[in-house]
């Protein structure tokens, strides 16, 4: 019901982590910290659009910034639905992986 694609999940998590400071550049950097590969802006915005349409994320124009010229930054906030989605995914993750030991996918060393 609340299932999220990997990208959606990572981006939502970043938005949650960044609290009030979740805008384009920051989210991208944050996600890339975890994935270690490039998250293109196009991909980011597409996912944000989908999250927006699903109602998990809310767009807000922030105060006029100093460095960015007189234009306002756009900040993204988690909505209530978004929170529920994250919780669902967290639970799903936990239960689906509960019975799998940590050593499961490591290489076996034969003594």
């Amino acid at each position: 019901m609340y299932e999220l694609s990997r990208n959606e999940e990572l981006i939502l998590l970043s938005i949650w982590r960044l609290k009030d400071d979740a805008y384009g550049v920051a989210i991208r950097r944050n996600v890339m910290e975890y994935t270690k590969r490039e998250l293109h802006y196009g991909s980011l915005y597409n996912t944000l659009e989908i999250l927006n349409r699903k109602g998990y994320v809310r767009l807000e124009k922030g105060e006029p910034g100093e460095t960015r010229g007189a234009r306002r930054k756009i900040f993204y906030h988690l909505t209530e639905e978004g929170r529920k989605a994250l919780k669902y995914v967290q639970e799903l993750q936990r239960s689906a992986w509960a019975d799998i030991p940590e050593q499961a996918f490591k290489k076996r060393v034969i003594k």
Binding site: R28, H40, Y41, G42, S43, Y45, N46, R68, G69, K73
Partner: protein, 864 residues
């Protein structure tokens, strides 16, 4: 201030959603500056570009929702649009169909030419051996396609890299085949037994290996076999050639395909071209090169290395005089059709540049058609604005609108493809005969080709159609209702570039067309030094005529409408043979001069009205002229520069002949070449051609009389005549076709450019309707309004002309250099083309302009 790359930035700004909703440029700029300070400008720029290109990709993904459900709806809407906006749809479809048809037609032709000789099994290993003799120029080239008779055997026997080597004569003999009363002329080639091993022709009957081994064997093609023998197996039957010997049919092969550089109906064994007494000597002679040599290399042989190896052959076999830096070259089979400028080559050479030119024209025409579509759609956008606004308000998302407009375009494309294909199908027979090649529209065989063509055009179309689709889909309903969208439509620069390009191309084509036409006209009307009109001519091969030539001539001359008659070896339209003549000048020294030679009789000068400047013509009554006297032309005299040439002796082909007169220079070759020294020899009974000057009235009757007289004396060969001015025209056939092609494409280009301009003018005038309304109410005259509106277009036109003229001038100059006699590229040509383009532009623009100028200001200002 660190600025990111401008072009990439512009690209992102086209992506409206990213730009407006997510302020992508801001995010990007911030990171760009960070990257710049951390890693320097280059890395930052690269990063920026990568982000932009990926953004493009993702944007498309965003805009195109993945559902396919809506397609039926889109199609319905697209059909309704066509019905509603008939003018717009018609223009678009017309333009696209024309573009498509041109593209397909040209690609068919190009494909055909490129497929020459591709039916041979081992085509990549087959080469023709040709020679390069630096310095030894003949007809403007020092490359020769002909080699010596023993070469093939030497190659095959001495070099293990050669699987097979074959030789043929370089000329096909146009002979009369007779069997049981059936007669027809066929083309034949003398070829040795390995011919069939090197080149692949489908064998139908008989044993390939031995077919050309025995003398008096003949191998015929299917068409000939069916004509003479019907459905029966003709092996073992006999055929008579030219009323001479009988030949036994030892093999039948399938008709030589059209796309072969060698074209023949039958083959005779190579050695039979020599009489039995000469045979051995001629076959081993290294003194005569009149043959084409083909080789099939063993697999794995590297041609360049092998070519180096065989350079020792001339040293070993040729005598000193012949072997002056003679270089052997291996010419790949597939190149033969495209490499021009070699002596003694086949006649159907098509320069690859021509093919490239043609293909570029094809793609150009298609692109112009698409550009027109883009222009027209954007121009018509103001009309669609309301529709878009309402759709958006009703909930249509941008992606859906994108798909809707795209499907409109796809529908247009499909209709145009169908119309285009039909047009090609209808036009193909005419086109084929025009280029004189058999170009088939075989769907079944070439379905891959057609699929490729359709795929390419549709794909590129969709790509192009996306721009207007994106543009229209991005309209904001708010702006539409406010009426503030008009400023977007005023983006003139890009569209201006399109229009200028289209007109540039049109003007270049017009200039080329006019130039070619004028050059041809010049050639036709130029005084060539002889009178080629009203002279009919025919070849004489028949013994009956040759033996009775005197009586034949007398009977013909009796007819009142026959003015004069001459028997000669050549027509004045082409005297190709020539050789080195030796001449003793005033100091008693020997001079050598290369001169062309024609063989004529007493009446030649009279029949062709060639002027005699000094001395006297050949005179029958003197009785001593035959085989002893010659006439020379002015060029000859100029080159030798004696004080008085009349009376001097010129020696050629071991014969001494006295010069008795000087004739005025006449163009005895095509006007691509200048006039070189010429000798006319007198051999009154060397009967090869008869040329008859006839009176201009009732020509059919005269011809009939000639035919009856001919039939009276001929034994075998049917009467087959032509007119000399036709032969003359055939020399310039290529140029005539070129002219026609330019005329055709100019027309097309103008048509499409006119469409483009029409669309542009429509959009410009529509956006200025209010302004015009206000001006009218303030009292502006019709004239001033028309001037105002036309001002923009005259600017474009001027730029097009300025760009086009130098390009056209350079191009045409180079082409005209091909001719020794050429016109000057006068200013007049450029003025004419500028005038034509101006006229076209005026016609297309004035419709819109006048409509707008006449519009009732009440209407346009009503909703203010």
């Amino acid at each position: 201030m660190k600025k990111p790359p401008i072009i990439a930035g512009w690209l992102i700004n086209r992506l409206s959603v990213y730009r407006n909703k997510y302020l992508m440029s801001d995010d990007l700029d911030e990171e760009y500056r960070d990257t710049y300070s951390r890693e320097g400008k280059l890395k930052a720029d690269l990063w920026y570009w990568r982000q932009c290109l990926h953004a493009l990709k993702f944007y498309i993904d965003l805009i195109i929702p993945r559902s396919t459900m809506m397609f039926k709806n889109y199609l319905k809407i697209a059909l309704r649009i066509i019905k509603r906006k008939k003018g717009y749809s018609f223009i678009n479809i017309a333009g696209l169909s024309v573009g498509m048809a041109c593209f397909i037609l040209i690609m068919l032709y190009v494909r055909y030419e490129l497929s020459y000789d591709d039916f041979h099994e081992n085509k990549d290993r087959i080469f023709r051996v040709i020679t390069h003799q630096p310095g030894n120029f003949y007809l403007d080239s020092d490359y020769f396609c002909v080699t010596w008779a023993p070469l093939a055997d030497v190659l095959m026997n001495e070099y293990p890299e050669v699987d097979y080597a074959a030789k043929t004569t370089f000329w096909t003999s146009y002979s009369l085949l007779i069997k049981d009363g059936k007669k027809s002329y066929k083309n034949g080639l003398y070829a040795d037994e390995n011919f069939i091993n090197v080149l692949s022709f489908n064998w139908l009957y008989g044993l390939r290996e031995t077919a050309l081994a025995e003398p008096n064997s003949i191998v015929i093609d299917r068409e000939t076999a069916e004509y003479y023998f019907g459905e029966n197996n003709p092996i073992g039957e006999s055929i008579n050639i030219d009323g001479g010997s009988e030949y036994e049919v030892t093999g039948v092969f399938d008709n030589v395909p059209e796309n072969s550089h060698l074209k023949f109906n039958f083959l005779l064994p190579f050695f039979t071209q020599f009489s039995e007494s000469d045979r051995e000597e001629k076959m081993a002679s290294w003194g005569n090169n009149s043959y084409w040599t083909y080789i099939l290399l063993k697999e794995g042989t590297i041609p360049e290395e092998f070519e180096k190896k065989i350079q020792s052959i001339p040293d070993r076999y040729l005598n000193q005089q012949a072997n002056q830096n003679l270089i052997l070259i291996l010419q790949p089979l597939r190149d033969i059709h495209f490499q021009s400028g070699y002596n003694f080559d086949t006649t159907e050479i098509v320069d690859k540049k021509f093919i490239y030119l043609f293909s570029s024209i094809a793609i150009l025409v298609l692109m112009i058609a698409y550009i027109n579509y883009i222009n027209l759609s954007i121009a018509g956008a103001s009309g669609r604005a309301k529709e878009i606004g309402i759709r958006k308000v009703a909930g249509a998302r941008q992606g859906q609108l994108f798909r809707q407009f795209n499907s409109e375009f796809i529908l247009f494309s499909m209709i145009s493809v169908v119309i285009g294909m039909t047009a090609v199908y209808i036009a193909l027979p005419y086109f084929s005969s025009f280029v004189e090649k058999e170009i088939g529209f075989d769907f079944i065989d070439r379905w891959k080709f057609f699929l490729g063509i359709c795929g390419f055009s549709l794909l590129s179309g969709i790509l192009c159609g996306s721009y207007p689709a994106l543009f229209l889909a991005a309209f904001k309903p708010v702006n539409i209702i406010k009426g503030a969208f008009t400023h977007q439509l005023k983006r003139k620069k890009l569209r201006g570039i399109f229009v200028v390009t289209q007109f540039c191309i049109s003007i270049i084509l017009i200039v080329c067309g006019i130039t070619v036409y004028k050059q041809l006209d010049f050639i036709k009307n130029r005084d060539i030094g002889y009178n080629r009109e009203q002279v009919m001519t025919f070849r004489v091969r028949d013994d009956g005529i040759t033996k009775n030539i005197k009586v034949f001539k007398e009977e013909l001359l009796q007819y009142p409408k026959i003015i004069d008659l001459t028997v000669s070896q050549n027509l004045p339209t082409s005297i190709i043979n020539g050789g080195i003549a030796r001449f003793k000048d005033d100091n008693g020294e020997d001079r050598f001069i290369y001169a062309h030679e024609g063989v004529v009789d007493y009446n030649f000068l009279d029949v062709y009205e060639i002027e005699l400047i000094e001395g006297r013509n050949f005179n029958e009554k003197s009785g001593t002229d035959a085989n002893r006297t010659i006439l020379v032309n002015e060029a000859f005299v100029k080159e030798v520069k004696p004080d008085n040439i009349i009376g001097k002796i010129v020696t050629s082909y071991r014969r001494d002949e006295e010069v008795i007169g000087i004739i005025k220079d006449f163009n005895y070759q095509s006007m691509h070449l200048g006039i070189r020294p010429l000798i006319l020899k007198l051999q009154p009974y060397s009967v090869f051609r008869v040329s008859i000057r006839i009176g201009s009235d009732n020509i059919p009757e005269t011809i009939n009389y000639i035919k009856r007289t001919y039939d009276k004396y001929s034994t075998n060969h049917p009467f087959d005549y032509s007119f000399v001015d036709d032969s003359f025209n055939r020399l310039y056939k290529f140029e005539q076709k070129l002219g026609a092609i330019f005329a055709c494409f100019s027309f097309l280009a103008i048509f499409i450019a006119g469409l483009g301009l029409f669309g542009l003018s429509k959009s410009v005038t529509e956006t200025r309707i209010k302004e015009i309304g206000i001006r009218k109410t303030l009292g502006a005259t019709m004239r001033s309004i028309i001037q105002l509106l036309s001002k923009e277009f005259t600017g474009f036109l001027l730029i097009s002309n300025i760009i086009a003229f130098p390009a056209a001038y350079l191009g045409m100059n180079r082409w005209l250099d091909n001719f020794a006699y050429r016109i000057d590229l006068g200013v007049w040509i450029f003025i004419a083309s500028a005038a034509i383009s101006l006229m076209i532009a005026l016609i297309t623009v004035s419709y819109q302009v006048i409509k707008t100028a006449l519009a009732n200001p009440v209407e346009s200002l009503r909703y203010e």
